[in-house]
Symmetry: C2
Subunit: 646 residues, 2 copies
């Protein structure tokens, strides 16, 4: 086994922040067209270089007058002025308002020479004495009010005047600022550049989404590259994805140098393999400078911070900044958000987001005693009139589903060993937009349930199986548990609804092995794929096996030992059928609905009821009510699924 770098002296989190702060990843300013400027940050102050408006401007539809001519006029005793013409918006006035005269003016038009006020049209009346017969203009206009000089006139520069400070450097451009820049005629804006962030995923097993996957070779889709790239965008940077790197030194060196040449910051990410991390470590030490390795934060142990020298081919000067992220997706994103995103925002000039922190109550007890600060991903559950319920989500499993099952992070002090159930904790939401789910469900996975959940606003459902679901319902965390088939545990709950599904054995199309039931699994040489013991399908299958054992008067264990793959269990209702479809198995435990969906054969073994059970304390919550509403339509949903009945 390769020699591996041990991270024995972990740096405190503040040192990691300081090390990243010491890196220079700010690009130079650039100019963007105004229409692309939303969300960007001004690189410099913008002073007005013209008066707005650029002329004295009528601000009402009405008549431009000399104010002095209207003194004393009122409804009872109007003043009559001679009509000399009209001025429209966007046209140069071709009339002059001499004493005793007026000119029609529309809002926004240039005040004609001589006039110093506008009387609004509602306080005037056109008068004709025949002089303008044949035209649609009046001879005179009765003015029924007096106005002062400047009334209903916006003088040149009154809005913003040449030389005035319009917007300061660092201003983030929203519709309002863009409106002001438009008024100033600005169509190109000097903004802070977006730091270019190169992302290198390490791991020979990684495949880009959309490309074919060879599971036999242990390939998996690359999660960290796209996740971190999206996070870079969100922080105001411009992500650049590089090809995956294996743990070959020369290849890694070439890739890291190329990324350093082209970017302000290079992030490596994706590998959970110590040897790949080790290769990166050596490249950074050889080709740059390692400022820090390993941070006393869970999950920050494998974090690297340093600089990477650029090659002579680079158009950039100096070294590129470098940060190595942990491999597990939730860990990578958490460390990215905590340490790297603030530096990207700083470099882009973007203000820190108004980080939403909410206080919730622990829904379970949580123990921890590693003596490192811990950034604990947690899920939330909204409750009425009470703080939201908080529960830990990812325990280092590296699961990508944890990404969407967590809503934020609780920072747990190194000294804290226990967080008690009911204890108040502060949760830093992943973004201020995060809205906790309104419904937390656990239990069996089922395609009808998946469709029903589409009708609930912000549900979260953890398909942990019937048995585990009931256990969690008993412990009080979820709102509902969904079970399939017979249950062996009596949990206090309120039934919200039920339907049935046909289950049995999924076989290749045409049932080439002529499977008729469980006995064939025992007696014939068939490769079987089972579900986990938490699944209600597995419980129903267990009952069939027990019945066969009774009938043959043999031990149940003897039967299952005879089934090749009885212990080969997979997690969700489609997985066994997919193994049959791919030819990796001859028979899979599953549903008629799945078999028909995948064009496979099906041997029915019966039906089982799916029951939706609510936590008695939560039957009145908005989320549970939403699920109840959806259950009113369960008939329509199960109609679409073969073998289903309500």
């Amino acid at each position: 086994m390769t020699e591996r770098k041990e991270f024995r002296n972990l740096a405190p989190p503040e040192e990691a922040h300081a090390a990243i702060d010491s890196l220079d990843l700010a690009p130079g300013p650039e100019h963007v067209p105004l229409e692309d400027a939303r969300g960007r940050v001004l690189a410099e102050r913008i002073d007005a270089d013209l008066d707005v408006p650029g002329f004295d401007r009528g601000s009402m539809d009405g008549y431009a007058v000399r104010a002095r001519d209207t003194f004393g006029a009122d409804e009872a005793d109007p003043v009559e002025l001679d009509y000399v013409g009209a001025v429209h918006a966007g046209a140069e006035p071709d009339v002059t308002v001499e004493p005793g005269t007026c000119a029609e003016i529309s809002t926004g038009a240039v005040m004609p020479d001589g006039a110093d006020a506008v009387v609004m049209v509602e306080r005037t009346e056109e008068r004709d004495d025949g002089g303008s017969a044949g035209t649609d203009t009046p001879d005179r206009v009765a003015i029924r009010t007096s106005v002062a000089p400047g009334d209903n006139v916006m003088v040149a520069g009154a809005d913003i005047a040449a030389g005035a400070r319009a917007l300061g450097p660092g201003t983030r451009l929203t519709p309002r600022e863009i409106g002001l820049l438009s008024a100033l005629g600005v169509d190109e804006v000097p903004v802070r550049g977006k730091p270019k962030v190169g992302i290198i995923s390490t791991g020979d097993e990684l495949v880009r989404p959309g490309e074919p996957l060879d599971s036999d070779r242990g390939q998996i889709y690359d999660v960290n590259s796209t996740t971190i790239a999206t996070g870079v965008e969100e922080a105001g940077g411009e992500p650049v994805l590089y090809p995956h790197a294996g743990d070959d030194y020369a290849e890694m060196e070439r890739l890291l140098t190329r990324a350093a040449d082209e970017c302000d910051l290079v992030l490596s990410s994706g590998s959970t393999s110590a040897s790949a991390v080790d290769v990166i470590y050596r490249v950074i030490e050889d080709r740059g400078e390692l400022l820090l390795h390993g941070v006393a934060v869970k999950p920050g142990k494998p974090m690297l911070i340093g600089r990477l020298e650029r090659s002579t081919e680079s158009t950039r000067t100096g070294a590129s900044a470098y940060v190595g992220l942990p491999g597990y997706p939730v860990s990578a994103l958490t460390i990215f958000r905590t340490f790297v995103a603030p530096a990207i925002r700083e470099a882009a000039g973007q203000p820190d987001p108004r980080t939403a922190t909410i206080t919730g109550e622990m829904g379970v007890q949580e123990r921890y005693s590693e003596g490192r600060m811990r950034l604990m991903p947690v899920g939330l559950l909204e409750r009425e009139d009470r703080p939201p319920l908080v529960y830990p989500v990812d325990k280092g499993s590296g699961a990508t589903t944890s990404l969407v099952e967590a809503d934020g992070v609780v920072t747990v002090d190194p000294d804290t060993e226990v967080l008690d159930e009911g204890e108040a904790v502060d949760v830093t939401l992943f973004s201020p937009d995060v809205r906790p789910p309104t419904l937390l469900g656990v239990g069996e996975d089922d395609p009808a349930l998946n469709r029903l959940l589409d009708r609930v606003e912000r549900p979260r459902y953890l398909p942990v199986g019937s048995r585990e679901g009931l256990r969690r319902l008993r412990d009080g965390l979820p709102d509902v548990a969904v079970t399939a088939g017979p249950v062996d545990r009596d949990v206090d709950s309120v039934e919200l609804g039920r339907w049935s599904r046909e289950w049995g054995l999924v076989v290749p199309a045409g049932n080439p092995a002529d499977v008729t039931g469980v006995a064939d699994l025992v007696d014939d040489d068939l490769r079987f794929v089972n579900r986990t013991t938490d699944s209600g399908l597995r419980t129903s299958l267990g009952n069939e096996v027990a019945a066969l054992a009774d009938a043959r008067d043999v031990d149940r264990h003897a039967l299952v030992e005879a089934v090749e793959g009885f212990d080969l269990t997979v997690r969700a209702f489609e997985s066994p059928a997919r193994r049959v479809a791919s030819g990796d198995a001859d028979v899979g435990l599953g549903l008629r609905a799945t078999a028909e969906k995948l064009g496979l054969g099906f041997v029915s073994l019966g039906t089982q009821d799916i029951v939706v059970r609510a936590n008695p304390d939560r039957v009145d919550t908005a989320g549970v009510a939403g699920l109840e509403d959806a259950l009113d339509d369960v008939g329509a949903v199960v109609d679409e699924l073969p073998g289903y009945e309500d």
Copy 2:
């Protein structure tokens, strides 16, 4: 004057919301590449169609073993297993772990046949007995711990399994969801379409930013188009800008129909002219359906809501939605945000933003009695340990600067006639990102001050002139007032700093009229441009005129009457000079710094002091402290400005 539509029966705001809700502006779903999916909203549920991982996966670097072989092993009494080979991530295993053997495995690699657990490398030791001499692989491995089946193995589908519900419809895609989609190999995502929103600005006077402006013809830059377009983007729509429309019926009809053909929603915006609104009104009535005109909201009186029929050339079916917005920018944006943006978000499937509402205290008394609900734009000022100060910003002036001087809106009930100073009010921020300024300054405009403000975080400065600034400081609203020249009002304040600037008469380059002082303005036939009486420059000029009057023993008024343009006042320090530069004036009141910047001549009349005065109650705030820090560097700032001294 054209007949104009009167809006006598204003609809209550709820009716306006209902009318917009009745319009259909949701486009169909579309598919976007995963890398462009950030911020988009899923159009449909995504179920996993593969197991993740697709194989049983080692989750540690170490040795793959049969768990049974390790039973009883510990540090004191390790078990030795024969080394049969290695499995690396991304490669298909070429070894089988028979009883009594083990295989090296790296994190993420496929579990070799036979093995059911992984022992982490830290709990092992390689042993050689010469059998593998000449290779770098060991003969045997000592296992110092016992493991259970499944330890350090992530079974196929354990993360997410085929058929499981991954993400529900309506989910907004953030880095986390994009991570999960990556794991599923999804590279194209079905998302809700962005509603296409056509924007038609009306007004012959409008010019697009970047194009030349003819102020003599009353042209102004179009503000609403870009502002509203940016707001449309922010709400999740796709803006389409159409050419400006005048108030010609046929042109307006053609433009509105074209926009309806191409868009889901058409917004007209920009005109303050009643006649243009009237033309639109008639087009909508003739070519569509008007659902509502005029809403009992200030500023919603001229709002229109309806539908526009499409022509036979359109590829879209049915009618387009239509909303007419008020003309003043702040009004247009306020109505857009209140009524239109929610409908665009709904159509795009975007969740409502977590609208930030904060409670503040009125800094001034505000009266209102129009019997309509009022959406009052307000500015905010952060205060330590107290709610922010709230003050009304736009009073219907139509100023574009109000766009950036307001931070949010207070909804004032139709029955409310007075909001008292100190009264608590709820402010709906323009966006949750809005951060109130830390410093509110008022007073003289000055280029050195503009530069100093660049060094303060989030300052807001209203250049209302020295005199008005002092008045406001006395009333207690701002943190600081900045005055220039002699002041005639004694206001309790703390001086934070001062510098001096040279002022005088700005003349064309080379001073062709040979101006030497104020006397030339009086005696010669020169077109002069003055500053407003609020300006400290004007006060200094007044003192010069008074001195000349004394010297000549004439009345001051007689002198100023003799100056052509003495009453032609403009608002900011550069404006008069710019009139000289454009040839519209012979002499302007101004600064040496401005004259040199614009390449003009300058006749010095003296220097005046700029004094920064703090509100005595606020000297300890962060904003004032920031300005004080900036003032420490005033020397460096004034060094760059001709005629300035600290």
